[in-house]
């Protein structure tokens, strides 16, 4: 029975989007093609997701995956330009640019290119002001502008092979050795460069350049088209030609000899043709060939296995699945108090463990791809801290087998992972590290230890909440015995000690890192103060207990407040660093922190006072 449920669960979690039937392009291969972007060689799939998230705030469209979207952008921009992918939610931005708001808040490139052109004076004026005085809306306008610029640059990457030009004049076509009334590309025209030169020379010699007649229009159209396409030659976003990682235009301008790069350029051309003729089999065969060639050309730089791993990682959505497990575990746990206590609570623990395994493998894969320790940004610290919280809770569960650990782990795991999704959308969550951070040793020690400290502290805090609730609401009914209480208190005390160990170690290691890199152990920097605050708070709890100020409930309340301290040390400090230039995004974080802190204070002090009064009642 258990196994069956587990299988069902697994199949639900891992149902990947149905593999495409034969009536559409197989983009699996093309998504693994390596590209150099932002200092890292990544698969095209990641590149597509990062850029789509940047524009759209989500890494897929309603009926399109990121790689499908990117393929359309580079092969068929005129269709892609109509897709509503640019997300603008700020009404001030819409008003400033005179765009009428539409449902869904998404706008197409065609719309925005026109609008931004109309507002070019405004944009220039904003970009000339100092960043500190720009309003959030102004910043977003600049962001939008650079996003659209980026989009245009990507979409014009292959403009030299677009078959979009027609020569209507039969005689002229014949002179240029080209077919009339047929779609030809810039490169097709360029191939007949000599013939074109001849025609042009004659044209100039006859003095028609100064006084062109209507009959000369077809020739002028060709010249204009060449000029129009040549304007894209700065496009260098799509760095897909190893080993120098050139963009299509840069490769074209560098005049590659008949080497393997020229070969892969030809395959891209054929791929373009196959895309437009909808030749699915040809497309698949070509992309396979292209992948092999790219990997061969990039040598050891881009490990084929890692690129493949990364595309799988992108597709599997491990953290989403882990969240699902945690939520499931929580639901099963809640149900277990009503029905089939044994089976359901066992299943709940299994779901939690399964979630932890998925979660852990996600973090391990990220470490493999990035070749560095797991924590270097706020996003990474959230997914890491939540894993630690889950693991500590599982440890507690395996020791006591009373559901406490499962409850704590599923709650913290689910909440923290949910929070992390908000940060993931920031763009490339696997960015390169600036020089001073780029030391594996310190990242692996300091940041990891302090994150473990955060995780343990959160567990301690939640345990304290649990204690207070149990004591307040179930002690009278006899569900919470004295020995249960003692056990839970002991657990809280130990978790606090564990947290103290890791936060103190992490804080001192941070100081030592600073001493190694800048020559100062302690500088009263906000981040350092945050860590010190947590250390002092944990010490405060322990010494308060020792001094006799904190008895059981008051100590639980103090430990419960640790969550507020952790959140302040972890997120609040980042807000301070951001300082005056806060985007709407960080403002909402500030709001969330305040709401969270107030709610915690209210709940915990309510519990504290209710104990106080009930004790008084008993005394009376």
């Amino acid at each position: 029975m258990n196994k069956f449920l587990l299988l069902l669960l697994l199949s639900l979690l891992f149902q990947s989007p149905n593999l495409k039937a034969n009536d559409s392009f197989d983009l699996k291969t093309i998504s693994q093609i390596p590209i150099l972007s932002n200092g890292r060689i990544k698969p095209l799939d990641s590149y597509a997701r990062i850029n789509l998230s940047r524009f759209h705030n989500k890494d897929s469209l309603a009926h399109m995956s990121a790689i499908e979207w990117l393929t359309e952008v580079i092969f068929d921009p005129s269709s892609a330009n109509e897709k509503k992918i640019f997300r603008i939610v700020n009404l001030d931005v819409l008003e400033a640019l005179e765009i009428s708001p539409i449902a869904g808040n998404n706008y197409s490139a065609t719309e925005l290119i026109n609008t931004l052109q109309k507002n070019s004076q405004l944009i220039e004026a904003i970009s000339n002001t100092a960043p500190e005085v720009q309003t959030p809306a102004q910043k977003q306008i600049l962001d939008l502008y650079s996003n659209v610029q980026l989009y245009i640059e990507i979409s014009r990457s292959f403009s030299m092979i677009f078959k979009e030009f027609k020569i209507h004049d039969v005689a002229l076509a014949k002179n240029l050795n080209l077919l009339p009334q047929q779609n030809i590309s810039y490169l097709d025209i360029l191939k007949e460069e000599d013939a074109l030169k001849k025609v042009l020379n004659q044209f100039i010699k006859q003095g028609r350049l100064q006084n062109p007649t209507p009959a000369d229009q077809p020739l002028l159209d060709i010249l204009n088209y060449i000029d129009f396409i040549r304007r894209d030659d700065h496009s260098s976003e799509l760095k897909i030609f190893p080993p120098e990682w050139l963009s299509p235009w840069k490769l074209h301008l560098s005049n590659p000899a008949a080497d393997s790069r020229a070969e892969s350029f030809r395959i891209w051309q054929a791929l373009y043709e196959a895309y437009h003729t909808k030749d699915f089999n040809q497309f698949k065969a070509l992309s396979l060939k292209l992948l092999q060639l790219s990997q061969q050309n990039s040598g050891t730089l881009a490990s084929a296995a890692l690129l493949k791993l990364e595309t799988h990682f992108n597709r599997l959505n491990l953290f989403v699945n882990a969240t699902a497990c945690y939520v499931l575990s929580f639901l099963l746990f809640a149900l277990s108090s009503l029905y089939y206590k044994n089976i359901l609570s066992r299943l709940s623990t299994i779901a939690l463990s399964l979630g932890a395994v998925i979660h852990l493998s996600g973090i391990v894969i990220r470490c493999l791809i990035m070749n560095r320790a797991p924590v270097s940004s706020l996003y990474e610290s959230i997914i890491f801290v939540s894993l630690i919280a889950v693991l500590v809770s599982l440890f507690i569960e395996f020791k006591h087998k009373n559901g406490t650990g499962t409850f704590i782990g599923s709650t913290l795991g689910a909440i923290l992972l949910f929070v992390s999704f908000g940060y993931e959308k920031d763009g490339d969550s696997m960015g390169m590290l600036v020089a001073v951070l780029d030391t594996n040793f310190w990242l692996a020690t300091h940041v990891v230890t302090i994150s473990i400290g955060y995780g343990c502290s959160l567990v301690a805090s939640l345990l304290a909440h649990l204690y207070l609730f149990k004591k307040r609401f179930t002690q009278k009914s006899g569900h919470f015995t004295k020995s249960d209480e003692q056990k839970l208190l002991k657990n809280i005390h130990r978790t606090v000690l564990f947290s103290l160990f890791f936060t103190v170690l992490g804080t001192i290691l941070g100081g030592i890192w600073a001493d190694q890199s800048w020559g100062r152990f302690w500088g009263w920097d906000p981040k350092e103060n945050g860590a010190l605050f947590l250390c002092l708070w944990l010490l405060f709890i322990l010494h308060g207990k020792l001094a006799g100020y904190f008895k059981t409930t008051s100590m639980a309340v103090a430990t419960g407040l640790t969550s507020v301290v952790v959140i302040l040390a972890w997120f609040g400090v980042n807000l301070l660093n951001v300082g005056l230039h806060s985007y709407g995004f960080t403002e909402s974080i500030a709001q969330n922190i305040i709401v969270f802190s107030v709610v915690e204070f209210v709940i915990l002090f309510f519990l504290l006072f209710s104990f106080h009064f009930s004790r008084k009642k008993v005394a009376n």
């Binding site: 150099l36 972007s37 932002n38 200092g39 890292r40 990682w245 960015g431 390169m432 590290l433 600036v434 020089a435 001073v436 780029d438 030391t439 310190w442 003692q486 208190l489 002991k490 130990r494 000690l497 564990f498 103290l500 160990f501 103190v504 170690l505 001192i508 290691l509 100081g511 030592i512 001493d515 190694q516 890199s517 800048w518 020559g519 100062r520 152990f521 302690w522 500088g523 009263w524 920097d525 906000p526 103060n529 605050f533 002092l536 708070w537 010490l539 405060f540 010494h543 308060g544 207990k545 020792l546 001094a547 006799g548 100020y549 008895k551 059981t552 400090v573 301070l576 300082g579 005056l580």
Partner: protein, 378 residues
């Protein structure tokens, strides 16, 4: 006996409890204040101070708070701690580690020197500049640490009325006013000519006015008004930091000296030459990958080639040089090395090991012991 009583009171857990609560409060206030005051000013006001004013209220600053904790811990270790008590050995070790950490902090606070050494490519330097303090330097141009004719007056001695005399050249200067930060203001056409020297020196076009300190302390413009006697061009002068042209004094002996305000210079007993500076970014991005300074260290008999880079500092004769930053001008790259001399440097390393060891022992000892009574006191 009374003294002992007071000392014992200092060691009480209850005192620590309240002191640590207060420390957390000033930690929060001080950190939030950094947003407005800047890191350094907030640090001076809240953490490095004996007391600070919050409105009309004087409140204890970081020094007495940490001081009580430090002294209490010291006497606790001295009188109360029994390292033979097996149940508490973990806690005792941890306390000892924390004491060492704080002791290191005290030593660092009193003994450390830090600043930056800025060298353009191909140039040498034998001093480093203080981050915070300035000095009034009357010296020959290009002379780094001074010749007999020079007068170098550190910020701490720039007090109104103070008189300094140069031994050799028989001139002296008298400080009239010192400003921590000023603003320059053009004088209106209707302003009456003012005899205050600041305005004389600034050609009656501009005047300087005192101003509150900036949140970024590097934006402060310090200024000095002083009177010179015994030179060929005696008179009243005003100088402020980074002014376009510093005034020149000509001594009786004919030497030309520049009066300037600059960051306080700490001389080094050796010289460093920057041979080459190298900056790398990740391919196709602006994200810096590494900074590197290739230098030559010149000491009495040594000429040694060394590379300083991120996370790989140079340690020599008690000084440590870190790659901190760089800049660029038309003539080439300029490296910015952070220089630190700190006798308390090794305390955190030792104490962190001791503290962690102590907490681990404590964790294992409570793990091994059976359930103990709650609410146990000392």
């Amino acid at each position: 006996m009374k003294i002992k009583k007071i000392l014992m009171a200092l060691t009480s857990t209850r005192l620590y409890f309240w002191a640590s609560l207060w420390l957390m409060i000033i930690l929060i206030i001080g950190t939030v204040a950094q947003r407005e005051l800047g890191l350094y000013q907030a640090q001076l006001k809240y953490f490095n101070s004996w007391f600070f004013w919050e409105g009309p209220l004087p409140l204890p600053g970081g020094v007495p708070t940490l001081g009580i904790i430090f002294v209490g811990l010291f006497f606790q270790l001295l009188f109360k701690t029994k390292f033979s008590d097996k149940n508490k050995i973990g806690i005792s070790i941890t306390h000892f580690g924390v004491f060492l950490l704080l002791l290191g902090g005290v030593i660092t606070n009193f003994s450390s020197l830090e600043g930056s050494m800025i060298i353009p490519e191909g140039k040498s330097s034998n001093y480093f500049e203080d981050y915070h303090l300035v000095e009034l330097a009357i010296s020959a141009p290009e002379s780094a640490t001074g010749t007999p004719a020079s007068l170098i007056i550190p910020e701490k001695q720039l007090k109104p009325g103070a008189i300094f005399a140069a031994d050799n050249e028989k001139y002296s200067i008298k400080i009239l006013k010192y400003f921590k930060n000023i603003a320059l203001r053009p004088r209106g056409p209707n302003d009456l000519p003012d005899q205050s020297l600041a305005k004389i020196e600034l050609n009656q076009q501009m005047e300087i006015v005192s101003k509150a300190q900036e949140s970024n302390e590097n934006d402060n413009i310090q200024a000095v008004e002083f009177q010179v006697s015994g030179t060929a061009n005696d008179g009243l002068f005003v100088v402020y930091k980074d002014m376009d042209q510093y005034p020149t004094l000509t001594t009786q002996g004919g030497a030309h000296l520049l009066a300037a305000i600059r960051n306080l210079r700490h001389p080094l007993p050796f010289t460093i030459t920057l041979n080459d500076f190298e900056k790398q970014v990740y391919p196709s991005s602006q994200i810096p990958k590494s900074f590197k300074s290739a230098i030559t260290l010149h000491d009495e008999k040594i000429d040694q080639k060394i590379v300083i880079q991120m996370n790989e500092p140079l340690r020599y004769k008690g000084y440590t040089f870190y790659q901190s930053s760089f800049s660029q001008n038309s003539e080439g790259e300029i490296t910015d090395l952070a220089v630190v001399k700190n006798a308390g440097k090794f305390f955190p390393y030792i104490s962190s090991i001791i503290i962690c060891f102590g907490i681990l022992i404590h964790l294992f000892s409570i793990q091994a012991s059976p359930l103990r009574n709650k609410g146990q006191d000392e």
